[in-house]
């Protein structure tokens, strides 16, 4: 794997993506200020988007930026500001005994195991998936077309289900946010 020569461009792209991702990730978990963590997250997401493009998933890269970095992280920032928790957290103190040690061990074992699994299994045969009936993966505009076709035909049920899920999520969020105010207004009506 390492012995073969690869195109320089793809190596560079990979390294960029990797750096962005890893630095951002480490930042998320180590920075004390939640706002800083959110910004690190954005960096990671950018890195992921780059990786997506390198793999030919153009549409998904776009969606990643728009939805994840643009909406979800912004929502995080809203809540952080709203709650006013942009103070620092005492990261160096760990009240639960042994948590960090065990966590490190568990994580290292898991990651190491996954990598070993990958190294030892023989899945790189170059064969293509059966379900697509031999149609190669398109890139560029055709990627959008192919993805759209798949979502609206093969995975239509999942699509509809996720639509319903979104409605539920919205209703849930509204209810969660509303509750206390509704009780207060009822009490006011009773007294008056």
């Amino acid at each position: 794997m390492i012995g073969a020569t690869y195109a320089l461009a793809s190596i560079l792209v990979f390294v960029t993506a990797a750096l962005l991702i890893l630095v951002g990730a480490v930042g998320v978990i180590t920075l004390k200020n939640p706002v800083h963590s959110a910004l690190s997250l954005i960096m990671t997401l950018f890195g992921v988007a780059v990786a997506f493009v390198a793999q030919g998933a153009d549409f998904l890269a776009a969606v990643e930026i728009i939805v994840y970095a643009g909406a979800i992280v912004v929502l995080f920032l809203f809540v952080i500001m709203f709650l006013g928790v942009d103070r620092k957290e005492h990261v160096h103190v760990e009240p639960l005994v042994g948590q960090r040690a065990f966590a490190a061990v568990g994580v290292v074992v898991t990651v190491g195991g996954l990598i070993t699994l990958m190294a030892r299994s023989h899945w790189v045969t170059g064969a293509m998936s059966v379900s697509t009936k031999g149609v190669a993966l398109a890139s560029g505009q055709d990627n959008v077309k192919q993805l759209g076709t798949a979502v609206f035909t093969t995975y239509l049920f999942a699509f509809e289900a996720t639509a319903v899920l979104l409605v539920i999520a919205v209703v849930g969020a509204v209810l969660l946010a509303r509750r206390e105010r509704a009780l207060q207004s009822e009490e006011v009506e009773v007294e008056a």
Binding site: I11, A71, F76, V79, L176, E180
Partner: protein, 101 residues
């Protein structure tokens, strides 16, 4: 030749590890959420890599749905965090230990 898929997979695995370490170690609910997002992204990367390897658009479709669900999850989750914060004025999950014993 393109960089072999294995490198991206290793990257995704490491990202997943970092995300789970952060989830287990940080106390603030918001930071933990962000770590969950990291893990989800690692999974997405894996899916896309395999989609390229196997030439199957299904991998990308899966990523699409994962993103939708992640969005919905964040919405509701942050709503819960806000409700809890209203009672306790702290986002530390260590304080939510009333189900002990």
């Amino acid at each position: 030749m393109n960089v072999p898929a294995a490198w991206y997979l290793i990257l995704a695995a490491v990202l997943f590890g970092v995300g789970s370490f952060g989830l287990l170690t940080r106390r603030s609910a918001l930071i933990m959420f962000m770590c969950v997002e990291l893990m989800l992204n690692a999974v997405n990367l894996t899916f896309v890599t395999f989609s390229r390897t196997l030439s199957d658009i299904g991998g990308q479709a899966s990523v699409f749905f994962v993103m939708v669900v992640a969005a919905a999850e964040v919405t509701v989750g942050l709503g819960i965090v806000v409700s809890i914060f209203r009672r306790r004025s702290s986002t530390s999950v260590d304080e939510l230990s009333e189900l002990k014993g």
